[in-house]
């Protein structure tokens, strides 16, 4: 049983009277794919923002790779190997797919901000970038501007950008959102292929994908984790059924 890559301990976040995160504990083990599900408004994206460093929690700690990163900002956490994708696609539209991924490779390089090293022709950046693109099936779209890619391709690009950081953990915020059936199946297969190699926290609404991919599942309702464990157990949990049925009821 190895040391968890990511540990959330008693995380709390409130906006005025609204408790968006109400004492969340969570552990993510290396190579594990842990799904985070919950009805709309449960606070999933806010939680991801707190883990990635874009939002400061009011209380609680976040430990990443054994270190307390609660006080660190997003860029510091990224440098330590925490990558994320966004619910609303966030690529650099005017740069090519290759350049978007190369940017991530560049961040890990010895001289990320070199003033006089030409970036576009730099093979030390482009080669790993092309590998990441190939891993997500976008090898032949390398030179297309990110803004011109199809929606599903953009989601795959976000994943490639995360891979470029050689992460220890990837936070995936609804990667399947708005994606059609065919592209969705491709993405699911892609995520499955990454299992075991990267620790992943997957926030998703698509239940089929979640139960096909997840090693463990946590259910977030009104900012609290009401159930956590193996997928089958969670699925059968009456509290979980109520949360979802009550939602649809």
């Amino acid at each position: 049983m190895s040391e968890p890559v990511l540990v959330l301990d008693g995380l709390r976040k409130a906006f005025g009277a609204l408790k968006v995160t109400d004492g969340v504990d969570l552990a993510l083990r290396p190579g594990e794919l842990h799904a985070l599900i919950g009805p709309n408004g449960a606070g999933k994206t806010t939680l991801v923002h707190q883990i990635s460093g874009m939002l400061k929690p009011d209380a609680g700690t976040i430990r990443f790779r054994g270190q307390d990163v609660t006080g660190l900002d997003a860029k510091a956490r990224a440098r330590r190997g925490l990558a994320r994708t966004f619910q609303i696609t966030s690529t650099i539209a005017s740069l090519s797919a290759l350049e978007n991924v190369a940017l991530g490779v560049q961040a890990r390089a010895a001289h990320p901000l070199a003033l006089f090293r030409d970036a576009a022709s730099d093979e030390s950046l482009n080669r790993p970038a092309r590998e990441a693109l190939a891993a997500v099936g976008l090898a032949d779209r390398a030179h297309i501007a990110a803004g011109s890619l199809s929606h599903g391709e953009k989601r795959a690009l976000e994943l490639a950008m995360a891979l470029a950081l050689e992460p220890a953990a990837i936070l995936l915020d609804e990667p399947l959102a708005g994606v059609g059936k065919e592209e969705g199946e491709r993405l699911i297969a892609l995520l499955a292929s990454l299992k075991g190699r990267y620790a992943m926290l997957l926030v998703e609404h698509d239940m089929e994908a979640v139960f096909a991919l997840a090693d463990s599942v946590s259910v977030l309702v009104y900012g609290r984790v009401i159930a956590s464990g193996a997928p089958a157990a969670v699925r059968a949990d009456p509290a979980v059924r109520e949360a979802y049925l009550g939602e649809e009821g």
Partner: protein, 327 residues
């Protein structure tokens, strides 16, 4: 748009060559420009063009932070002014050696840029524009308060700078070619910076700063470095300006000047770098022509700026691209 998706990077050969063509043509034309006097242009043509090139250096520096970095600085004239005043003061105090003046100019601009940049970059959007404007004003008032160096009336320089005894600025054509060579040097420098790893981060941060930070880059630091570099290059332009007009005054630092610099950059086409050069030259020639027509030339110019903004996209370079049937 045509059926083919937009190619962001067109591979080394075709795109790179095309990107070098227009700037090469511009510099070639500029190198030959003094000869126009033989074709009937008045003698004042060369000093006017020299002045245009000086502002082209300033506009180029602004394009780095404005066009490439997306930072709308409304106080850029302050750097011009600091460079000009540093030059003017040193010459007045008997030190006209370029190799002594330039380090002072660059250092003063770097320090001002670092200190004010650190404050300005804590803000975004509308606030950033206002802060840069305010700091520019501060320098303006400071210059006005320098009663030992002319105050509001300005300071007349009784000699020009020399370089190791050589009178670079003595003749009109040697002044022109010195500035042209410096402009070419600055252009290549800025171009290299933009194409570099640093430049890529700056460009990306303009479009999506969140993504850039989440990738592990310190966006504020990158912007600050760009801001300081840009200020130093504008300071160089100030050095030339002081020598050219043989006069420095707070008017160099007015916010109207900062606005004009922005207009020059946008006129040419933001972000293209050579566009800033074209824009500065076009602006100064137009200003010269208009001011001979009427005292109230601003009444014509003002609306023109407004209309230009409202109706065009991409400035002169954009128009050239469209005319050439480019993508």
């Amino acid at each position: 748009m045509s059926g083919a998706p937009a190619l962001a990077t067109e591979g080394r050969s075709g795109g790179e060559r095309r990107k070098l063509l227009l700037p090469a043509v511009i510099f070639l034309l500029l190198a030959l420009a003094p000869l126009a006097v033989h074709l009937g242009m008045p003698a004042s043509w060369l000093p006017l063009l020299t002045r245009a090139l000086i502002f082209a250096i300033a506009a180029l520096s602004l394009d780095l932070i404005l066009g490439v970095g997306g930072l709308v600085s409304f106080g850029h004239a302050a750097f011009l002014g600091i460079g000009a005043y540093a030059t003017g003061i040193m010459i007045t105090e008997g030190r006209s050696e370029t190799l002594l003046i330039l380090p002072v100019v660059l250092l003063a601009c770097a320090v001002f840029g670092a200190v004010t940049g650190a404050v300005c970059l804590r803000t975004r959007g509308v606030a950033f524009i206002m802060i840069t404007l305010a700091f520019g004003q501060m320098v303006y008032f400071l210059a006005q308060a320098l009663s030992a160096y002319g105050g509001d009336d300005g300071l007349t320089l009784y000699e020009r700078s020399t370089l190791l005894g050589i009178d670079l600025f003595a003749s009109r054509s040697s002044f022109f070619y010195t500035v042209l060579a410096s402009l070419a040097g600055c252009y290549l420098l800025v171009r290299a910076i933009v194409a570099s790893r640093f430049g890529r981060v700056l460009r990306a941060a303009r479009e999506n700063p969140t993504r850039v930070s989440v990738t592990g880059f310190d966006v504020d630091r990158v912007r600050l470095i760009a801001y300081v570099l840009s200020g130093m290059i504008a300071g160089l332009a100030g050095f030339f300006l002081a020598n050219h007009t043989e006069f420095v005054s707070p008017a160099f630092i007015s916010w109207q000047r900062s606005g004009e610099l922005i207009f020059m950059t946008v006129l040419g086409g933001v972000g293209s770098l050579h566009g800033a050069i074209i824009g500065a030259i076009a602006y100064l020639i137009a200003e010269d022509a208009l001011s001979h027509l009427t005292e109230h030339w601003r009444v014509i110019f003002g609306p023109q700026i407004v209309l230009f903004v409202l109706f065009t996209r991409g400035g002169i370079v954009g128009m050239l691209k469209r005319a050439g049937g480019g993508r």
